[in-house]
Structures are given as C-alpha cells and as structure tokens.
Symmetry: none
DNA sequence: TCGGCAATTATGTATAGACAATTAAACGTC
DNA sequence: GACGTTTAATTGTCTATACATAATTGCCGA
C-alpha cells in the first residue's frame, strides 16, 4: 500500500499540530469558547485538519499541559475554568476576572477620539506621527465600584474596522482579542501617584498609589494597540506564579 | 511477525514517558546536571529505557516546553540557564540588572536578625510560629542612588547554611539563587504609598507611590524565602513579555 | 423502579517507520 | 592554513496502528 500523505501545511514553517493548537488557543482566549465549553474531540479535529490522531493529540495534550483545557476520558475535552493566579501571565481580561469573583460587570466609555497620531501617540504605537488612530477611555466597574481606568490607543492602519465599532456596549479589549490573534505582548508595570483625573474616575484621593499596567500588543511586527490600565493600589494586586519546572 | 512489546512500566500507573521525564527533572533540579550540561540524546535514552523514540521525544519535548532544557538540532539537548526571567518578570537579579545599565552596584545590609518566627513571619513563610528564621533588610544602590529596599525572611529549617553567611558583602538573593536554582516563585505586585521608613531608605518623600513586589520562593513544597522589594515608583518599572503559546 | 452489567466512546500511551531540517564536524582543495 | 563541500548526528514532525483505561449510556432482569 502506497504511503499517501496529506499535503504539507499551507503556512510554511508552521507545524500542523502548532496550527491546530493556535486555532484552539485563539478560540479560547478570545472567549468564543467560554470556560466549560466542549472542545472538538480528536476525531472531529483529525477530520477537519486532515491529519492523524497523534497530531491532534499533541496539540490537545499541550493545551492540557498549559492548563487551558482539561481532558476527561470518555467525556471529551473542555475549556478550563480560569483560576485567578495563572491569569496574570496571560492577557488580562478584566471582564472575565470581575465575573469570576461573582460581581456585576459594567463598562463605561468616557472618552472617544478618532484622530491623527500626536507625537506621543506615535511613540506609544510605534507608527508615523499623523497616522490614523482611535483613542478610547473607559472605566470598568465591579458592582458599580470603579476598579480600573483603561486608556487605549488603537492603530487604525492595522485594524481599520475598529473605527466603525460602537464601544459603548463592547469592551474594546474583548473586541480586539477576537479580531486579532495576538502574538506577543509587552507589559510595563509601574506605581504612580494618582492624578486628579484618574482619582476622580476611580473615586480615590489624588496622590493615592495606583498600579499602572501598560501593554503593547504586537501582531506580525506591528503594534496593534497600546493600553494603560490604572488600578487603585489599595484594592488591587497582580499575582504571578511561575517556575522553570513543570507546573 | 509477532508484535513484541517491551514490558509495561514497573511502576504501576506511571507512564514510561513520565518516568523518563521525572528522572531527567530530578537530575536537573537536584543540580547533578548543572546548567549547560548535556542531556542524553534520544538514541541514548531509548536504549536505556527500552522504548521507542517517540516516547523519549515526548518526555524531552515536555521538558523543553517547560523551559528546563533547550534542544538544538544536530547538537543535542542541554540544561537551560535558570534565568527565570524568560518566563515573566525580570526581577530576580537586581545586581545583574543594574550592571546591565552600566551603573555601579552596591548593596548595604541595614538590618539582620536571627530569631524565632513571629506570627507574622510564620504566615509569610508558611512555617510553624517559633521556627528559626533569618530576617535581613538590605538596600540596593545604583551609582550610590538607592533603587530598592529588600526585606527578606529566610527559612533556616530549609536552608540552615544561610545562618553562617556574611550578607554584608553578598546579595542574599544571589546567594540563594545559586543555592536553589530551580525553584518556584509566586509574586504579588502592588502599589503602595511609601511609609516613613521606606521613604527614608529610598530617599523619596513619604507618600510617594512605590512598586512593591512580594515574592515567595518554594522548593520541593517548602517556602525557602519571602522577600518584599520596594521600588520607588518614579524610577522603576517591571517589564514582562510573553506570547499566548505555552509559557 | 432500581441495581448492575455490557457496550460504546474518548482519551492515554506506546510502537515502528519515514522524511525533513539543521548544523557540527570531517574532508578535500587550493 | 583558509576556504567551500560533503557527511552524518540530532532533533522535528508526521503517519498508521494497537491496545489500555476510564466513564457514560443504555439495556436487562429482578
């Protein structure tokens, strides 16, 4: 019997199992598949991707090892419940985090401006000054208590469709997560004394220590979005757990 | 041709690949194979464990994914350098960080106390109250400018030899890193307004925002050390860079 | 109705073989 | 000795198959 092989992956240099793994990751991280949702079985995946069971098994095993899914014999694979700790290393989904604590989530858009990049914007997004950008300021609430102020710049050259979205209802972070499978994020974490504006938004005193997380998200070399998250220092902390050895 | 299989693993319920993985981990974590040391090749391992190449490959791939080893084609597999920074936060080695910026590094020990754990100490190190501990307070300088106050507790039951070390010359963090290179850390990152004492040490004003990193380091189940690092918010930030893929 | 047993299904582990990609090392030439 | 070229060692990926293990489902009989 001749050794009939399926064609090599379209995406040059990307292994089949990595392709599958990535596709599942994107669906999970973006929230398309919420925690508890069922992940396609190995049989379904091998048909969809035209490969052997071992290949999809490798992708699924890796996801299980990284804690993104849990697998149960006879039942199938399911999106894992995100635990508070491991989440910090991943991208920060404020909405999911608040809801995990059982609190009511609400977001309010307090500023929107579509404009040509100022020098300062340009530096943050690493684009030419004058490039078209979208600047959004939102406040996230948990049970009507403000927990974080989000100042976001979106590179409209990279994500033109963002211009047409009504972000009064949609969290910009969530929308982008679905739109653009991010490849790399860079975080800068600082402590600053609250400015008058931030203090007003967060309902704290001016000068109170705030934890500021600045994040640039890159995809294929370009910065997609730059976001500054300001948390009141008194009520928020990041938790990061890691080890060189397996978890 | 009959299907001759090697016998099932001796250790009931333990998969062959897990057995191999565990054996290698132990050798690395224990320090028997120091960073940079060569790990046996797949060929050597499959002979030693009487199994197929795919099985040892699974073990080695898992170790590579967890960052314990690095693999290079044609060269082989090697024990990774325990930088711990590649995972998340580049904060382990203050000295290296300062020297990387081309500044003169100096550490000053401003407090040392070998004592029985108070209730507060015990909670931080997760030991019984009354266990022997070493408490150190140091200030790290870059070009004679204070950059961080380090408050450290060391569990002397876990690292008895720390009691005999003169930490006026040696950075306790560095010393411990060499002592237990492959450990697991948990970080809590907060923003707080500087207390009077911290402000004095860092030469800033009381109330200025400080970035506080609290870290517990575990090794084989026990907390080795607990350290609180207070950075002046105005001049310090953490940087974390990562991709969505397995950490 | 309920308890227990059997069938089914999905994952878990393992094998042997194949070919690709990378690159250190050996070799040969000038 | 300096330089390209070939060789071979090592990891990377994939296939097809096999049997093990766990757990849900449903059937059957008391």
């Amino acid at each position: 019997m001749p050794d009939v092989r399926t064609p090599r992956p379209r995406q040059a240099g990307v292994a089949r199992y990595a392709e599958i793994q990535r596709a599942l990751e994107t669906a999970i991280v973006s929230g398309d598949w919420p925690p508890g949702a069922r992940v396609p079985s190995e049989q379904e995946l091998l048909k969809r991707y035209h490969c052997s069971r071992m290949t999809v098994n490798k992708a699924l095993s890796a996801l299980a090892a990284s804690g993104l899914i849990v697998r149960r014999r006879r039942s199938g694979s399911f999106v894992a419940q995100p635990s508070a700790e491991k989440n910090v290393l991943q991208i920060h989904d404020t909405e999911a985090e608040i809801q995990r604590e059982g609190k009511a989530y609400r977001i309010a858009l307090v500023g929107r401006s579509e404009r040509k990049a100022t020098k300062r914007d340009a530096a943050r997004l690493d684009v030419e000054a004058g490039a078209r950008i979208l600047a959004l300021t939102s406040i996230h609430f948990a049970d009507d208590k403000p927990v974080v102020v989000e100042d976001r710049l979106i590179n409209l050259e990279a994500v033109p469709s963002a211009a047409g979205v009504d972000f009064t209802e949609t969290s910009p972070g969530n929308w982008l997560l679905k739109k653009v499978p991010w490849s790399e994020a860079e975080h800068h974490i600082r402590a600053v004394n609250a400015t008058e504006e931030v203090a007003r938004h967060l309902d704290i005193a001016k000068g109170d220590a705030c934890l500021v997380v600045e994040r640039r998200t890159r995809y294929s070399g370009h910065i997609i979005t730059h976001v500054t998250l300001s948390y009141p220092g008194s009520s928020y902390q990041l938790v990061a757990r890691f080890s060189p050895a397996p978890v």
